[in-house]
Symmetry: C2
Subunit: 389 residues, 2 copies
């Protein structure tokens, strides 16, 4: 760790520097992608970013999979005046856990998203208008199928590592089941082999918040002057509560009032925690599309490697060949450690190599997005060991 600390000092204000989003288009008609639903989709564009260099043996590629509101922009900045680095900047760069001096890092935006990849806000070539709800429902399997096309395009046969938190972890699981010969290792953070009933419930109320907003217009709001901002903001506020632990909300805000000494005896925003949620909701509508929120949460709800209990978790993991690092976080109640433990047990019963750790944190489900020495060290060691082997 001392070595890392020294390296970090050098790079803390340095990072990966200026990066660029690239695009890859495939599945041109008549070779469209057949989705899990049976519908066809294409051409498909994926927005992606890469950092570091692919080595001669093409054995150092790491695919990072983003969570619900993430995108391809993992690290660095898009220009000299871009003051907000990518969403996992502390994890990716020279000397960082995903060390760009050693690894070739790739991340692409999921289909159905709104950050450059094909999604409901894209133009439907058949109508010349945004898809809206004519966009087909896509699954995590479809996302991974599209990512495989990107990996082919980059000329990589076998990924050293697939890694993601939350729904990113679900994609990592899916990679190891769908393409077992193309993944050496997988890192699953704060994830599950299928979402709980409570998780589905929260996703459904978030979707209803959007679909109840009259400005949603059945999904055809792109040409309107107003978008379903109130609904999307509310959806984000609901979800945000589930990303944090009760303890962290208590420590951060408690019952403190915002800019006032006493109750106002009205319905304005008074408590700091209310103010914080409103800020999160307002910030989100500036960067996210309401329909994409529907499509992505639906993909999460649908994901279930046991196919609705038709097969056991053990049988579901039978195709897998990867080595796994599974990390859960003690204060995560949306994807609790229990979900990770059932994955670990199933992997072990399939005689797969797996390292598991429940990391003590206060940050809830969002813990994987916060610096943590245990998480970082375990990822560093897991990658290094498997690159050398």
């Amino acid at each position: 760790m001392r070595e890392r600390a020294a390296k970090e000092e050098k790079t803390e204000y340095d990072s990966i520097g200026i990066v660029e989003t690239k695009y890859c288009t495939f599945a041109h008609p008549p070779e469209q992608m057949v989705l899990e639903s049976g519908e066809k989709l294409g051409p498909i564009t994926l927005a992606y970013e890469t950092y570091g260099k692919l080595n001669a043996g093409k054995s150092n590629a790491v695919l990072i999979l983003h969570a619900l509101s993430g995108d391809a922009h993992v690290a660095g900045r898009h220009g000299p005046n871009d003051h907000k680095p990518g969403w996992w900047d502390f994890m990716v760069g020279p000397g960082r856990p995903f060390d760009t001096d050693r690894y070739f890092i790739i991340c692409s935006n999921v289909i159905g998203g709104c950050k450059g990849s094909l999604g409901p806000s894209s133009i439907n070539p058949e109508t010349g208008k945004p898809y809206g709800l004519d966009f087909p429902v896509v699954t995590i399997g479809d996302w991974v199928e599209a990512q495989r096309q990107l990996i082919d395009h980059l000329g990589i046969h076998k990924l050293l590592n697939v890694v993601g938190g939350s729904v990113g972890g679900m994609q990592a699981i899916e990679w190891t089941l769908r393409f077992p010969d193309r993944v050496k290792t997988a890192t699953l953070l704060a994830t599950a082999a299928r979402l709980s009933a409570q998780g589905i419930a929260f996703n459904e109320v978030s979707r209803r918040a959007i679909m109840s907003d009259p400005k949603w217009h059945g999904g055809n709001y792109y040409q309107e002057s107003d978008h379903p901002d109130a609904g999307l903001s509310l959806a984000r506020m609901i979800a945000h509560i589930t990303y944090l632990s009760e303890e962290s909300l208590h420590q951060k805000f408690g019952r403190k009032l915002q800019d006032r000494e006493k109750y106002g005896y009205n319905f304005s925003t008074e408590f700091q925690v209310e103010s914080y949620l409103h800020y999160q909701g307002d910030a989100f509508i500036k960067r996210f599309d309401a329909n994409s929120y529907l499509y992505i949460t639906k993909a999460i709800d649908y994901y279930d490697i046991t196919r609705g209990g038709q097969i056991s978790l053990d049988l579901a993991f039978k195709p897998a060949k990867a080595k796994y690092l599974v990390l859960s976080f003690s204060s995560d109640w949306l994807y609790p450690s229990r979900d990770s433990k059932e994955i670990v047990r199933a992997l072990k019963r399939n005689n797969l190599e797996v390292t598991y750790c429940e990391i003590n944190t206060n940050y809830g489900h969002d813990s994987f997005l916060v610096r943590n020495p245990v998480m970082e060290e375990m990822i560093v060691n897991f990658l290094a060991k498997n690159l050398e082997e």
Copy 2:
């Protein structure tokens, strides 16, 4: 317990029978009630019900305090064709824990509510129209002040017991602090001396669901043909998730689909848990007023016997003289056992008599609304012991 079981058998289909809601009006101008906010309110009508008989010594009166969506109708039916008994029917009646052969039971609807007591849907005598948001913000202290008027009206000086779950428990606490000489014992179920930051957060998103509904019209929807049903329904769906434990949702619904074998690949209701939430939301709008939801959640958020941390919990309980029975439920994550334990510790440090039990249940915050032999037996014994003393 054997004796109770035998009694129950006799009364299971019998209950308390037909009951009637009564009304009590006070605080006529110019003697209006001065609220905690400083505003004046009156005349105030409370809807209430009573069961059993007040004894000659007036020493057997129990005041039940209802939770957010409850009302004065605790037990029995309103007529021969009324098939839905009161909200705590299994607890109140001959031979039931609140045995109407022994105790005189009272319950009134809170002010700000919509079940017969004065609230935002009532006619404002100054305008001849429903109050809407002109109704003043009321607090749990105001509720209890109004209940005291009712108890005076009934000619009772000292209550044998005040009892409530959730916000009902907060009212019970408030009774013991505001009128220490008028309460012999208090039973606090699944409650807290102040709501957590997470609890405030959930209340706020529920309020925003209502206030974002264009049909809310700033609270003046009573004369409109449409009410903010979508918003109120969504608020209820959000809240309902917090009333149940993750485990109970898993056991009850898991990932089972509703009336279908496979995914529909669209945004209709597919999972049983979604269908259940929609049912809850739809049922709620038929029986509740959106503005009352705002006023009651605000009262809950405001409640804090430490006055925003200005005084310690120990000091806050200093005026209390009652004997307490405190029950929390292991699966309740909205009002977790921790909140009850801090009450118990503060009571003990004030040398007050207190019995505490964390009851093992799967039903989450709603546990106090579900039959439970431990809860029932503890309440039976606590009441009996204190009636005799």
